[in-house]
């Protein structure tokens, strides 16, 4: 059955390309948007079919020596197709109203359609060749999409350079890993790879290569540098698609490798995944909490959430040999819940950021403010997204984090000393991440939407058009929906992992069977509503007697000129944090005082500039790039224009080959 689904998607892709190329300019956004949304919805259906066990098999003869490419999504692949399809559909509907300038050109519409379909194919592929082909197609189309606004800003080019380099590095590592694995197992089909239980020295190399490759695509810390660069530069609906869907394929790969292809009880592998996950979670949210560009903040928050997913995967593979298996399964269910929750709220947040960017032309939080009255729908949906990202109760984020914490604290550390050490540290890291995430999203929402506008653009902001609002509302509804009825998402996640309905309870709540922990958000919300009634009644009664009076000045201890510049900005909001974590953020601060010309004692203007550096970039990437540049320079004078040298090189090569062949 799923083969028909995939065929429909490919047909829709062709249609999308045709529509993008031929549709008249003023109709193009609407038509292409709808067709791309169609691809998304087809993806959702195919994913659902794969999840409910109707896996069909579609083989496309490709003129490669490795034989035909087979596309038959397993339940796990189906789950990711479902998530990516949903995100794609919402982003497509949103983009109909959002695209302007270069983002509305034919190339970016075609690239968008190709990008969404490529992601679906990656999740649907059943063998290594299909996987790699779709992976590279996804990388190329997303590079084109990131480049859309290169004419407007110079930083787009350098960001795309970083992005392209890192995605190709990821492709190379995945290729290397799969090559070694297929060589060991002797076949390229995932089913055979899983069945062959490869467990040799080469499998360690394959594991590390695949892990690093998928970590590079997912934006895990040592390889995350492209994420905070590419996402802010891409148009918002593209960065939403990349952040909510594309990085999930990194997680899909990691789950695939750790649970099916390279299952092994060696603790160093799970500790590696756990360590990398924890590091990315804490470091990502730390950088997000001090970032003042809204999209850079959201990009780093993606690194944090991906870190949590890797932490869940690492914990599950660590717990499996020691603890009981259903605790390990709960950790995996937590990982998939995190995938769904992150897809929901990150889409809402990025689309909200896009709507702010379109209305105010500003991306820097320090220049926004006062949008809550000017853009009600955007602020409401962004607020719900922020609640989800901060993992506050009754949102999808909270449910995912709750299941993760339950699986960690039931880690059964009593049997084993390693668990007794790692589980508390992991819980501490998750808690610190949750705390900093709370701080980050209060800052993002508070500074961007509340108080008075800090720039001209912010004061003239208007609400965005209907298609953008529809996209925003649907995404925000999914954040609340997944939060209030977690039973549904848990059953989908456990079916994707082949655990049957291990952890779903009747009234939409969760009953983690092995752990005896239950969570029913419905009654909790009901109780909250019951409790809020008396409060509202008393407020209304008091309001009738003493109505609210308007005053013409906020209280700034009697000051007369209360200008928006006196308000806190995102940089000052995060200043205590950057001071507390200064050893890992390395802030460079300088204060420039300009005295008035008449008297040295009177100060005209004080400027406070702060630049936060990414310690991984300065410590890891710059030295490596320096070495590469030096090697490049040295290699340059190999090419000195003398033909004889060139002939000599080939002669030496010829001799070496001869010698090698004979010896």
């Amino acid at each position: 059955m799923t083969d028909t689904g995939v065929r429909i998607q490919l047909a829709l892709l062709a249609l999308a390309v045709v529509v993008a190329l031929l549709a008249p300019v003023h109709r193009r956004a609407l038509l292409s948007g709808l067709v791309v949304a169609g691809i998304g919805i087809a993806g959702v259906l195919t994913g659902w079919l794969a999840l409910t066990g109707h896996a069909g098999r579609l083989t496309i003869p490709v003129a490669l020596p490795f034989g035909p490419v087979t596309l038959s999504p397993a339940p796990l692949g189906g789950f990711f197709m479902l998530v990516i399809g949903a995100v794609g559909a919402v982003c497509a509907v949103y983009s109909v109203g959002y695209v302007h300038g270069p983002a509305a050109s034919r190339t970016s519409w075609v690239a968008l359609a190709v990008f969404l379909t490529a992601m679906q194919l990656v999740a649907a592929s059943a063998d290594v060749v299909a996987f790699l082909l779709a992976w590279e197609l996804m990388a190329l189309s997303s590079t084109v999409l990131v480049l859309t606004e290169h004419a407007h800003r110079a930083t787009v080019r350098s960001a795309t350079l970083w992005y392209a380099a890192m995605t190709q590095l990821s492709f190379f590592l995945v290729l290397l890993g799969f090559a070694v694995l297929s060589a060991e197992a002797g076949s390229t089909q995932f089913a055979d790879l899983a069945a062959s239980h490869v467990d040799s020295a080469a499998s360690n190399l394959a594991f590390v290569a695949l892990l690093l490759g998928f970590a590079a695509k997912a934006g895990i810390v040592p390889l995350h540098v492209w994420l905070p660069r590419a996402h802010p530069e891409a148009p918002s609906h593209v960065s939403a698609l990349m952040s909510a869907a594309m990085v999930k394929l990194g997680v899909y790969g990691a789950v695939l490798v750790t649970t099916q292809l390279l299952v092994s009880a060696s603790t160093w592998r799970s500790l590696l995944v756990l360590g990398v996950g924890t590091l990315s979670a804490v470091y990502g949210i730390l950088q997000a909490s001090v970032a003042s560009d809204i999209k850079r903040l959201l990009a780093f928050s993606t690194t944090e959430n991906i870190g949590l997913m890797f932490l869940a995967i690492g914990a599950s593979s660590l717990l499996r040999p020691y603890g009981s298996t259903d605790v390990a399964d709960t950790a995996l269910v937590a990982c998939l819940l995190l995938v769904m929750a992150h897809a929901a709220f990150k889409t809402t947040l990025f689309l909200g950021a896009g709507s702010i960017l379109r209305a105010t032309g500003e991306r820097d939080l320090d220049l926004l403010g006062g949008l809550v009255s000017r853009m009600p729908v955007t602020s409401a949906t962004f607020g719900i997204g922020a609640l989800g990202a901060a993992a506050l109760p009754l949102t999808a984020g909270f449910v995912a984090e709750w299941v993760l914490l339950q699986s960690l604290i039931h880690g059964g550390g009593t049997q084993n000393r390693i668990l007794a050490i790692t589980m508390p540290v992991a819980v501490g890291a998750v808690a610190l991440t949750a705390g900093l995430a709370l701080m980050t999203f209060v800052k993002a929402y508070g500074i961007a939407f509340l108080a008075r506008p800090r720039s001209e653009g912010a004061s003239q902001a208007q609400e965005s058009p209907t298609s953008m609002r529809v996209g925003l509302v649907v995404a925000a509804a999914s954040v609340l929906g997944l939060g209030l009825v977690p039973g549904l998402s848990v059953s989908v996640a456990s079916r994707a992992l082949g655990l049957g309905d291990a952890a779903a309870a009747g009234s939409g709540g969760i009953d983690l069977v092995g752990l005896g922990a239950t969570l029913h958000p419905g009654p909790l919300l009901l109780l909250a509503l019951v409790l809020v009634v008396p409060v509202v009644v008393v407020s209304v009664a008091a309001a009738r007697r003493r109505p609210r009076r308007d005053v013409d000045l906020a209280w700034g201890s009697g000051g007369v000129r209360v200008s928006p510049r006196m308000q806190y900005t995102a940089t000052s909001y995060a200043e205590p944090l950057s001071r507390i974590f200064d050893d890992s953020l390395r802030p460079e601060r300088d204060v420039v005082v300009t005295h008035s010309s008449e008297a040295r004692y009177l100060v005209e203007r004080i400027q406070y500039r702060q630049r936060l550096s990414d310690v991984f970039e300065s410590r890891l990437y710059l030295p490596v790039i320096g070495v590469i540049e030096r090697v490049g320079a040295a290699a340059k004078n190999l090419q000195n224009g003398k033909i004889n040298f060139y002939l000599a090189y080939s002669f030496v090569a010829f001799l070496v080959v001869l010698m090698v062949v004979t010896l």
């Binding site: 909490s289 809550v372 506050l392 109760p393 709750w402 339950q406 604290i409 550390g413 009593t414 007794a420 050490i421 508390p424 819980v427 501490g428 808690a431 610190l432 949750a434 705390g435 709370l438 701080m439 209060v442 800052k443 508070g446 509340l450 108080a451 008075r452 922990a517 239950t518 969570l519 009654p523 909790l524 109780l527 409790l531 409060v535 509202v536 008393v538 407020s539 008091a542 003493r546 609210r548 009076r549 308007d550 005053v551 013409d552 000045l553 906020a554 209280w555 700034g556 201890s557 209360v562 006196m566 308000q567 806190y568 000052s572 909001y573 995060a574 200043e575 205590p576 944090l577 507390i580």
Partner: protein, 312 residues
């Protein structure tokens, strides 16, 4: 279900008295006569009778924030087993949910501070959120430590286990966890070592700076909400340290006994906290992370100790 509502009503009545007791104890220790225990109630009544003011540029958050804070306070009082430990099947009294509800209140308060649009509101909100972010690891790992011996993070099961095995209350693991939780509660409810509630110097404020702009009934809800949170958290610590006298089944007599013991517990803890505040000076803001890091290490020790003692 009935027990929860009883608990909420009792807490709404008791918490202002708790704050009254704390202020009374503090004045008596300073040699003053003190304004009497009912003063907070009088303040509240008067605040409801005053008109709230709205400055330009302030949004609906100024009115909605306090309501959310009070509701989260009420929800806390409902979820935490204060009067009785009867766990209702549908309602999850899981500690992580409790912490989540607490954080909803914190976020609401921070947004009210930010919405004021004044320098003090932003400053208070930034400091409050920074401290909340650093408190969270301590609270969650302390919860983890409490849940290890029982194997579940549901509060009612933890308290029941403590009632059945009184020795476990004095075990080193639970003592470490309780100290860490106490520090975290003092930080979260802006009490003395972290923040001075009765300060007038705006630059030293954390909690007070956020409510500078609120007036009338908004201020009343903010005050009541903060007091409810303080009462609920003190009640939580009280229940965990002195779990005796709590109602085990839903019946009038045990409920009455539960209410009385709850009142006594709150009075004792309130007085203790007030005396502590007289002796402590306010920590510099950037020394607070050291205090929180210390409490985090305590909680971490509690967990590893609970694992190792169980294995040994």
């Amino acid at each position: 279900m009935v027990l929860l509502l009883v608990q909420v009503v009792v807490m709404v009545a008791l918490t202002p008295l708790l704050v009254g007791v704390m202020r009374q104890v503090r004045s008596r220790l300073e040699g003053r006569a003190g304004a009497g225990i009912l003063q907070p109630w009088r303040d509240l009544r008067k605040l409801f009778a005053k008109e709230p003011l709205r400055a330009p540029g302030i949004s609906w958050v100024q009115a909605a924030g306090p309501v959310v804070l009070v509701t989260s306070g009420l929800l806390l009082c409902a979820l935490i087993p204060l009067v009785g430990t009867v766990a209702s099947p549908l309602l999850t009294d899981d500690l992580f949910v409790v912490v989540g509800v607490l954080l909803v209140g914190t976020v609401a308060l921070a947004l009210v501070g930010l919405d004021a649009g004044s320098a003090f509101g932003g400053m208070g909100s930034s400091r409050h959120m920074t401290i909340a972010a650093l408190v969270e690891p301590t609270v969650l790992v302390a919860v983890y430590a409490l849940s290890v011996p029982i194997g579940s993070s549901a509060l009612s099961r933890i308290v029941n286990a403590r009632i059945e095995a009184p020795a476990s209350v004095a075990a080193p693991v639970s003592l470490l966890a309780m100290v860490a939780l106490a520090i975290a509660v003092m930080a979260e409810t802006s009490r003395m070592p972290v923040d001075n509630p009765s300060t007038h110097l705006e630059l030293t404020m954390v909690h007070e700076a956020m409510v500078l702009e609120s007036s009338g009934r908004d201020l009343a809800w903010l005050e009541l909400g903060s007091w409810l949170r303080l009462g609920a958290l003190l009640g939580l610590i009280g229940t965990l340290t002195l779990p005796w006298g709590m109602a085990v089944e839903v019946a009038p007599v045990p409920a009455l006994v539960g209410v009385v013991t709850l009142a006594v517990r709150l009075a004792v803890l309130g007085a203790l906290l007030a005396t502590l505040e007289v002796f402590l000076a306010k920590l510099r803001l950037f020394r607070v992370p050291e205090l929180l890091a210390g409490s985090f290490v305590l909680a971490l020790l509690a967990v590893t100790a609970s694992y190792l003692t169980v294995t040994v």
